[in-house]
């Protein structure tokens, strides 16, 4: 589903954020990505969602070679990749419902279908009663769950999450991770960047470890 071959990202300043990274994530797999801040986790996710382009090597996502994708094609690629951010990036002048509906509106779904899908996604994250609320009235954990609902409402085959539990306490973090596990169980490929090491360990999934732009570990759970 996601294949990195000798991928390098060098910024114009000369700083190398990723150095010859190789890995392969299978369809339907759930993988954690860890490392200290500045190790290149975010850069790696940004390359997959084409917020930035790699400067060397090859990336294949969902069968598409990213270096061959032109700028006008990027939006269509992103519709297949659900993204979740540490700071949620919700729009605060719109209701929870409208926030979650955004990817469907962008893709040109019709209102009845939008309503059905948004309700289903909000039900999934346990916020169906909050659809008329504004994000500002919700707690941090609830806001993150709205962000997750927005990422999955389009039913993308891939989910990327960048520090989704960064601002949450351990109990809430566990709840959020449980949500990701549920999506993975229905076949979604999930890649989560996080430095909550003990939580990751307790969950028992494959973990990629980055250090100063290099992939230094690729561990599978012992079972």
């Amino acid at each position: 589903m996601i294949t990195f071959t000798e991928v390098t990202k060098r910024y114009p300043s000369g700083y190398e954020a990723l150095k010859k990274v190789n890995f392969h994530v299978k369809r339907g797999e759930m993988v954690f990505l860890t490392g200290h801040s500045g190790a290149g986790k975010t850069t790696l996710l940004r390359l997959i969602s084409m917020i930035e382009r790699q400067t060397g090597g090859q990336i294949v996502v969902n069968g598409q070679t990213l270096s061959r994708i032109t700028n006008p094609q990027i939006p269509y690629l992103r519709r297949n990749v659900g993204m979740i951010f540490q700071e949620h990036r919700l729009l605060f002048d719109r209701t929870v419902f409208d926030n979650v509906a955004l990817p469907l509106v962008i893709s040109g779904f019709r209102p009845p279908e939008i309503q059905r899908r948004v309700r289903a996604a909000l039900d999934k994250v346990g916020l169906l009663t909050k659809e008329r609320s504004y994000p500002i009235t919700l707690s941090g954990g609830q806001q993150q769950r709205v962000g997750i609902a927005r990422a999955v409402v389009n039913k993308p085959p891939i989910l990327l999450a960048d520090e989704p539990t960064g601002n949450l306490d351990p109990a809430l973090s566990k709840e959020i991770m449980k949500l990701f596990i549920e999506f993975n169980q229905v076949g979604v490929t999930v890649l989560i960047a996080s430095h909550a090491l003990s939580l990751i360990k307790s969950l028992g999934y494959r973990t990629l470890v980055l250090q100063q732009g290099e992939l230094i570990g690729d561990t599978y759970p012992s079972t």
Binding site: P75, I106, P111
Partner: protein
């Protein structure tokens, strides 16, 4: 047979897909049309101020145009009154004047000729000038006999001039006055004014473009976060651009309506005094207002300027906003 069947099913499927896509494209446009208007209503004061500025900018060339139309209307009435007045020498008797009029009437380039005798002229002068009391004091009638020549319609200005030259040299004529000359001058001046108004309209139109462009630029920056987020969610540039283009459309169109109101209200306000003035000149002249065609030009032109202004701003500034 089986292949044909599956083919027709396939084409039906793509047809319905296309239909669906067209429908959602259309509904997105309708949505944008109304939501961009609601966006304006969300900041009523700021929107109103922008629209007022646009309205004034569009109203200036529009009212100058209307003013010119009115001047043209007035001068059209004068066109038919372009005539040569022959003031005869005092010693010419009324019989002689009549003979002269009859001879002149034979000429082809003269359509009609009217004789105003000394008495008629005096009476007319008395009623129109308001100096009747002063005239009573005078013993003799100081006014000359006048022949008013109406040249045949459609003859060239040169032929007019030739006619004027020949009649002014007649021995009975004291002076000849050609009313056409100042009218020609007026026409020449109006031609200059027309060009001037075009230049002015061009300047104000570019002003409108800049105002709308700048307003849209500010909206883009205010909605920066939103633009980044929808880009991350897979929105195409066309999708992101659309609401801003509709905002530009609304600004321009409402600016045009504002200009229409300003122009028509001010001309309506001038209506009564102009009518009064026209009556003093024994004229039925009524001010012309913006007709349907001119109004449409104002609305549609405003809307187009709005869309173009928005396009300029969007093309330049949307590229600068990339998700991080």
């Amino acid at each position: 047979m089986a292949i044909g069947h599956s083919n027709s099913r396939k084409s039906k499927a793509t047809q319905s897909q296309r239909h669906h896509r067209l429908q959602s494209w259309f509904s997105q446009h309708v949505d944008c049309f109304f939501s961009s208007f609601q966006q304006l209503l969300r900041t009523p004061l700021a929107s109103l101020m922008t629209i007022a500025v646009l309205g004034i900018a569009l109203a200036l060339p529009a009212s100058l145009y209307l003013l010119l139309e009115n001047v043209q209307q007035v001068s059209q009435d004068w066109d038919s009154t372009a005539q040569i007045s022959l003031f005869l020498k005092p010693k010419v008797s009324s019989d002689q004047a009549k003979t002269l009029a009859d001879t002149l009437y034979q000429r082809q380039e003269i359509k009609s000729i009217r004789l105003i005798s000394q008495d008629e002229a005096l009476n007319e002068y008395k009623t129109l000038s308001g100096f009747s009391d002063a005239l009573k004091v005078m013993e003799n009638n100081p006014l000359p006999t006048v022949l008013v020549i109406q040249p045949t319609e459609g003859i060239s200005p040169d032929a007019n001039q030739a006619l004027y030259n020949s009649v002014s040299k007649l021995p009975e004529v004291e002076t000849a006055q050609f009313d056409m000359r100042w009218l020609n001058r007026l026409y020449a001046m109006m031609e200059i004014a027309k060009r001037g108004i075009l230049v002015l309209a061009g300047l104000f139109a570019s002003g409108v473009l800049l105002i709308i462009g700048n307003t849209i630029r500010l909206t883009i920056y205010n909605r920066r976060e939103e633009i980044e987020v929808v880009k991350l969610l897979g929105a195409t540039d066309v999708f992101i651009r659309r609401p801003f283009l509709y905002s530009g459309f609304w600004y321009g169109c409402l600016g045009g309506i504002m200009a229409w109101l300003v122009v028509n209200l001010s001309f309506w306000w001038l209506q009564a005094p102009v009518r009064q003035l026209a009556t003093l000149y024994h004229s039925q002249f009524e001010l012309i207002m913006l007709d349907i065609f001119a109004s449409m030009v104002l609305f549609i032109g405003g809307a187009l300027l709005g869309i173009v202004g928005a396009l300029l701003a969007v093309g330049k500034h949307l590229k600068e906003i990339q998700p991080h």
